[in-house]
C-alpha cells in the first residue's frame, strides 16, 4: 500500500535523481547512465521510504545497509545520497574528476554513505552476506539490502554467495536483481541466458518475488513481503527498463556506458523537465 504523499515524494525524488544522473555523466564525459536510470526508482524507494537510515549520521550502527553490487550505477546512488542530504548536491558534478570523492565506482573510504567498494561485478552479494551475518552475531535488527545487475548474475561468485545466504538462513538479507535484460554485449538472453532466473534463485533456497521495478507501490510491497520471510533470504527480481526516463536511452544497449552528447543532453533534460511538470500537474505543488 502506498499513500498519495509517499507516491508524490518518491516520484519527485526519482525525477530529481534522474536529472542529476544525466548532468553528472554529461559533465564527466563518461559513466553509466543506462543501469543508473533502471535502478533509480528502487534506490529512491529504499532510501526515502524503506530504510532505517539517518543521513546526518551515515555510520549509525543500527542503520539498514545498502550494497550496490552493480557499482557502475554509482551516479544514481550518489544522486540519491546527495538528495537525502548525506553530502552536498553541488558535489555531484565532480563525478570522475581527479581528486573527487565521487569515484567512477563507489569507494567506501572516500565518500560517506557508501557501504562497500564495488565495481568489479559479482562481489557485492558476498559482502552483503558478511554484513547480514554480523547483524546476527551482534543481535542487531538492521536489514541488509543489495542490488545486482542481471548480467552480473553470470558471475560464479554470485551463486557461491546465494548458497551461503540460504545455508546460514540470512533472513535479514534482501536482494534486488535489476532485471533490465541488457548487459554490455547485448541482451542477457543472447549473451548468456539467465532464464529461468526465478527458479534458479528459488532452487538455491531463496524466497523470490518478481515485480515491476519502476512501480513504487510494488517495490514497497515486495520489501514488506521480504521482511516477513523467516529462515531464508529473499530476492526481488525487478523487471526494469535500462535507461528508464529518457526516451532514446530506454531499452538501449548503446547507453550502457556512454554519456549523452550535447544534443542528446539537451533532449534528455527537456524530457525530465517535462516529466517534472507532469508530476506537478498530477500531484499539485512540487518539491
Amino acid at each position: 500500500m502506498i499513500d498519495e504523499e509517499t507516491l508524490k515524494k518518491l516520484s519527485f525524488k526519482a525525477n530529481a535523481v534522474r536529472k542529476h544522473v544525466i548532468e553528472m555523466v554529461y559533465a564527466a564525459g563518461s559513466g553509466h547512465p543506462g543501469g543508473s536510470l533502471s535502478a533509480t526508482d528502487m534506490l529512491v524507494t529504499l532510501y526515502f521510504h524503506i530504510m532505517n537510515y539517518d543521513p546526518e549520521n551515515p555510520t549509525w550502527e543500527e542503520r539498514d545497509r545498502f550494497v550496490l553490487s552493480k557499482g557502475h550505477a554509482a551516479p544514481a546512488l550518489y544522486a540519491t545520497l546527495a538528495e537525502l542530504g548525506v553530502f552536498p548536491v553541488d558535489e555531484l558534478l565532480t563525478l570522475r574528476k581527479i581528486g573527487s570523492r565521487l569515484q567512477g565506482h563507489p569507494d567506501m573510504r572516500k565518500l560517506p554513505g557508501i557501504e562497500a567498494s564495488t565495481g568489479s561485478l559479482g562481489q557485492g552479494l558476498s559482502i552483503a552476506n558478511g554484513m547480514a551475518l554480523a547483524a546476527k552475531l551482534d543481535r542487531k535488527l538492521y536489514n541488509v539490502f543489495v542490488m545486482l545487475g542481471d548480467g552480473e548474475v553470470g558471475e560464479g561468485q554470485v551463486w557461491e554467495a546465494a548458497m551461503f545466504a540460504s545455508h546460514y538462513k540470512l533472513d535479514n538479507l534482501i536482494g534486488f536483481v535489476d532485471r533490465n535484460r541488457l548487459q554490455i554485449d547485448g541482451e542477457t538472453e543472447k549473451v548468456m541466458s539467465l532464464e529461468p532466473l526465478t527458479e534458479k534463485w528459488r532452487s538455491f533456497g531463496w524466497a523470490v518475488r518478481e515485480i515491476n521495478g519502476h512501480d513504487f507501490e510494488e517495490i514497497i510491497d515486495a520489501v514488506e513481503w521480504a521482511k516477513g520471510i523467516k529462515g531464508r533470504p529473499a530476492m526481488i527480481i525487478a523487471h526494469t527498463i535500462k535507461g528508464k526516463g529518457v526516451s532514446f536511452m530506454e531499452g538501449s544497449v548503446h547507453f550502457h556506458g556512454k554519456p549523452p552528447n550535447d544534443e542528446e543532453y539537451r533532449i534528455a533534460l527537456n524530457e525530465l523537465e517535462d516529466e517534472r511538470k507532469r508530476l506537478v500537474e498530477e500531484f499539485g505543488g512540487g518539491s
Binding site: A28, G104, H105, G119, G154, Q183, D185
Partner: protein, 312 residues
C-alpha cells in the same frame, strides 16, 4: 609529432586476418567484446567466437579445455579482471599444463581514467610474470601490437599480453622486426639507458629529447617482452652507459623495473631507478592528468636519469 592509434583496434583487426589463415583460432570474451575489439572477429567468424558473459573465471577454464583439444585460444577482457580475478584458473588450468591460451587484456594501467581504481590495474604484469610457463608481452604501440598478436599465436604455449584503453603514439614502423624475448634499441646514447615498456616507451623518447637539450645522451630501449626478459640487451646497456632508468605504467613492485634491477643486481650492478606507479591504488580522472599525478611523465624520467647519472 607522432600519430596516435589504438592498440585495441590493431589487435582486433589482426585477429580477423589470422582467423582467415588459421581455422583453429577460437576467441572467448566476457561481455566486453566491443571494448576489447574482439567484436571484429565475432562479426567475421561468429561460429568461432564465444561470449562467456560476465564470468571471467569460467572463460579461463573453457580456454584451457579448448586448447587441450587442439584449438588456439585468445581470451580477452579488461586487464584487472583477466588477471587478478582469474589468477588461480590461469595458474592451475592454463599455465601448469602449458596450454595454448593467449590472454590478451585491454584497459591495463592507470590510463583507464574515469572508471577509477576498481578498473585500473597496476598489478597485472606482476601476477602473470610470477607464474611459471607464462610469458608476458607489452607492446609499445598499435603497430607493434599487431605484430605481437601474430607472434604469440604462432608460438605454442600460454601468453599474457596487455594493452591500454587510450590511443598511444605510434613510435615503431611497419617493417621493424618483432621477436618474442628481444628488446629493441629505439635511440642510441651513451650517458644513461632508459628502458621502457608499453606507453612509457614514448614517454622515454620524449625524455631523451629533453635530456639532449641538457647535453645528456640517453639510450632508449623498448622492452616489449617482460618475460622472458632480454637479459643480454639489458646487461649490454648497463655496460655501455653505466646507469639505468626503467619506466612502466605498472606498479614499481614486481614489474619491469623489478626484473631489470634484479638482473643487473645479480649480473652487472649499476645504479637503477624505477619510474612507475607507486604502491597505491589509482583513482578516477582524465588519463593524462593521472599520468602526471602518478609520476609517469617525461619529466619524471628526466629527473630519475639525472639521479642515476649522479650515482655512477
Amino acid at each position: 609529432m607522432w600519430e596516435m592509434a589504438s592498440q585495441r583496434v590493431a589487435f582486433g583487426k589482426t585477429l580477423v586476418e589470422i582467423g582467415k589463415e588459421n581455422p583453429d583460432l577460437v576467441l572467448l570474451g566476457a561481455d566486453l567484446s566491443s571494448s576489447t575489439k574482439t567484436s571484429f572477429f565475432e562479426r567475421e567468424f561468429p561460429e568461432r567466437f564465444f561470449n562467456c558473459g560476465i564470468a571471467e573465471a569460467n572463460m579461463m577454464g573453457v580456454s584451457a579445455g579448448l586448447a587441450a583439444s587442439g584449438k588456439v585460444v585468445v581470451a580477452s577482457t579488461f586487464a584487472v579482471f583477466a588477471t587478478g580475478r582469474c589468477y588461480d584458473q590461469i595458474r592451475q588450468s592454463i599455465a601448469y599444463p602449458r596450454l595454448n591460451v593467449k590472454i590478451v587484456a585491454s584497459h591495463a594501467g592507470i590510463t583507464v581514467g574515469g572508471d577509477g581504481a576498481s578498473h585500473q590495474t597496476a598489478e597485472d604484469i606482476a601476477l602473470m610474470k610470477v607464474i611459471p610457463n607464462m610469458r608476458v608481452i607489452v607492446p609499445a604501440d598499435a603497430v607493434e601490437t599487431g605484430k605481437a598478436v601474430r607472434a604469440i599465436i604462432e608460438e605454442e604455449g600460454p601468453f599474457y599480453m596487455r594493452m591500454g584503453r587510450s590511443d598511444v603514439p605510434t613510435i615503431t614502423k611497419e617493417d621493424d622486426p618483432f621477436e618474442i624475448g628481444k628488446a629493441t634499441v629505439m635511440r642510441d646514447g651513451s650517458d644513461v639507458s632508459l628502458i621502457g615498456t608499453g606507453i612509457m616507451v614514448s614517454q622515454a623518447l620524449k625524455a631523451a629529447e629533453m635530456l639532449r637539450l641538457e647535453g645528456i645522451e640517453a639510450e632508449v630501449i623498448n622492452m616489449s617482452t617482460l618475460k622472458p626478459l632480454d637479459e643480454e640487451t639489458t646487461i649490454r646497456a648497463a655496460k655501455k652507459t653505466g646507469a639505468v632508468v626503467t619506466t612502466e605504467e605498472h606498479s614499481v613492485i614486481f614489474g619491469l623495473g623489478n626484473s631489470v634491477a634484479i638482473t643487473l643486481g645479480e649480473k652487472y650492478p649499476v645504479p637503477v631507478k624505477r619510474v612507475g606507479i607507486p604502491d597505491r591504488f589509482g583513482e578516477s580522472g582524465e588519463w593524462d592528468a593521472l599520468m602526471v599525478k602518478y609520476g609517469l611523465t617525461p619529466e619524471n624520467i628526466v629527473s630519475a636519469a639525472k639521479e642515476v647519472i649522479k650515482q655512477k
